[in-house]
Symmetry: C2
Subunit: 407 residues, 2 copies
């Protein structure tokens, strides 16, 4: 009989973060864990004694299948970062006391590179005090910006949603017999993986987006306007994908260029429009073309009605692999995905030292971004396998059903 398990979710939600939770839960249960606790709102919840017995919440096989299809963090999330160990030992003593009170021997944290910092610090402290608690990181982020791992669970489904939605937006733009320009703003402050996924829209049945701008490359607004002018001269509709994080040469975000937007709130704060809106206004004003700005907003991270089966399965697998590794004695490590074959695509799980992963951001390689404002075939080839296949939603009364959050 192995010890007790606790699992938490942290950072921004994804469509498949709960599949990883199921992976941890089911594998721990199958391998004989006594109790499986869920922290509510991550490590912050644990500090506030907010946790649940997951066996009381996930009771049936249908619960498990619903949870796999339920978007956003089932256990809630937090953006809380643990302080440095040195000088803050009291915080760590408090956490470890709570874990010991619950007789927890295995601690799993599902999150991105910020969340892996939590695993790093807890396992470092555990080593310092000779604790027998095992700390494992389970990767998750739509941003795909985690180091070492081939890609992160959550990215494939977001990429699939973005590519499918782009195809629909491109179609929508085609209907009128005058040119229109649509600028779609996609998540990613520092890494352009999600925006790059818009390139997958192109195919036999779709001409694809016309221009793609990632934050990895300085955004040249004059060159952009010139490119827009050129393509719009052809008289057809144009769709442009931009990352929310694109910046001009002096380091300002594009939305920070909008000096003209002067909504001043009651506290005197200047409210700025998004980058897509700013560029749409600029095109409308300077080129006189009908332009629309679309922000995919939170939909791109929680569109569980449109997930990649590959992603859902891998999300489950990294959870399960974390449990297996921890039960076999590993600690201070993160489960990573390793692509062992390109064609056919095959990925296995491994574990890797959390110190190489925490707080590191993996960006799109510059050689995958082309000078004509697009991305290379290599990039498309890298992403394409990750959006393959579907996990049909369980439809009830016309809508996708989710597992109820009953706490």
């Amino acid at each position: 009989m192995v010890g007790n398990v606790i699992v938490g979710q942290s950072g921004g939600p994804t469509s498949v973060i709960n599949s990883s939770l199921v992976g941890v839960f089911k594998t721990a249960k199958d391998r004989g864990a006594k109790k499986i606790y869920g922290m509510l709102h991550g490590i912050k919840g644990l500090l506030d004694d907010q946790y649940v017995d997951l066996c009381e919440k996930i009771r049936t096989d249908i619960d498990i299948d619903l949870l796999k299809r339920t978007p956003s963090s089932y256990l809630g999330s937090c953006r809380y970062k643990l302080p440095e160990i040195e000088g803050n030992e009291a915080t760590y003593q408090k956490i470890f006391a709570k874990l010991e009170f619950l007789d927890v021997k295995y601690f799993f944290y599902i999150g991105g590179n910020d969340s892996m910092d939590t695993i790093k610090k807890l396992s470092d402290y555990g080593t310092m005090v000779n604790s027998d608690i095992h700390f494992m990181g389970v990767p998750k982020t739509i941003d795909n910006d985690l180091a070492v791992t081939d890609h992160t669970p959550g990215f494939g489904s977001a990429a699939k949603y973005i590519a499918a939605t782009m195809k629909e937006i491109i179609r929508d733009g085609l209907v009128y017999d005058y040119p229109t320009i649509t600028i779609v703003e996609i998540m990613g402050r520092n890494a352009g993986w999600l925006t790059a996924a818009s390139a997958l829209a192109k195919g036999e049945d779709c001409e694809g987006v016309d221009m793609i701008y990632l934050p990895e490359k300085v955004f040249d607004i004059d060159k952009f306007m010139e490119h827009v002018r050129k393509v719009s001269v052809a008289g057809r509709s144009v769709v442009i994908a931009i990352s929310e994080g694109i910046k001009v040469a002096d380091g300002r975000y594009v939305f920070e260029l909008s000096d003209h937007v002067e909504f001043v709130d009651a506290f005197g704060h200047k409210q700025l429009a998004g980058s897509a809106k700013f560029l749409a206004n600029k095109i409308g004003a300077e080129l006189g073309i009908k332009t629309r700005a679309i922000e995919l907003s939170t939909m791109q991270r929680c569109a569980a009605h449109m997930t990649s089966r590959t992603d859902i399965t891998e999300a489950f697998n990294v959870g399960g692999a974390a449990v297996k590794a921890a039960f076999e004695g590993e600690t201070g490590r993160v489960v990573v995905l390793k692509r062992i074959s390109e064609d056919p695509y095959m990925c296995i799980t491994e574990t890797h030292d959390v110190h190489d992963i925490a707080n590191v951001e993996k960006k799109v390689p510059l050689e995958w971004i082309t000078d004509d404002d697009y991305v290379t075939e290599e990039l498309v080839h890298y992403i394409r396998p990750l959006i393959q296949a579907e996990l049909s939603p369980i439809m009830v009364d016309g809508l996708p059903h989710h597992l109820n959050v009953n706490f």
Copy 2:
């Protein structure tokens, strides 16, 4: 052998407008039409001699099934309104000459109440000049604002997408342990049907949206702020659905209240933010709560990856019924849907005089809007059957496939 057929699409696209096109095409073909032409960009295209032979474009059964799943108007669209007949006989003579040149005896126009104006004027002129051409309207609009018909094809799929997306947005808002407010802006300048569909999110697995505001009722901004303050005191996340068309007592749209937004473009035009953005800024400024504005934008009208099978089938049926009626001699009429049973839901097609339908807007009855900023069970009961069942996309390489526009 019957005569030739021409069909066009007009107004804003929907997810299922091509299912109506297929309904016209397939029924006309099955009933022996010699030629089936498609106008490109509606009546405007016909005037410019832009049309195609649809038998050359829709060749196989798989083409038909792809087209049913292809969003946005396959034939393109226009917003062109025919001039009054009196004083503009030349325009009508030109159109009728073109139809006679193509030996067209049956004219079908798929569109909303503006497009039905085209059918009205053409059939009126046809009567005046004793033409033997039959003009039939095929209803389409996500806005559901067409008179006489129980509902319009296109609405059910948009409603399904909105309700499903709302469930996901509500989930996304729940993750943090502090209150957030999300305001979602939904299409509908004058009729609130689409925004009302957000009420369908509520169910066993979802607490639903908290407040719903339709354009049918004057928007009281002070009452709104007070309501937001009250619900946010409870400390939980709040999701609010607003129609883009909500107006305050003096008749201004809510987005027109943003006097502070002063982006002035090169032509001196003031650019205004949307109503959701304006309200989000106001809440953030006055109540100090983290607030996000989301615009569902064009996604709500072209999300063919998430359609209602009921809607797709009815869209096909109204196209087919128009052909049947025209071939049997009707003209100047529109196919309408009649709900003949509530439970189980059953709908049949009938035809109705276009003069009662063109240019008329059907709004949400005021008695279906409650004083506590929500909608009644009757309204939910009216919409619910329209979102039932699915037509799975044909997935190719991870994405929904569409019929190529090859003209």
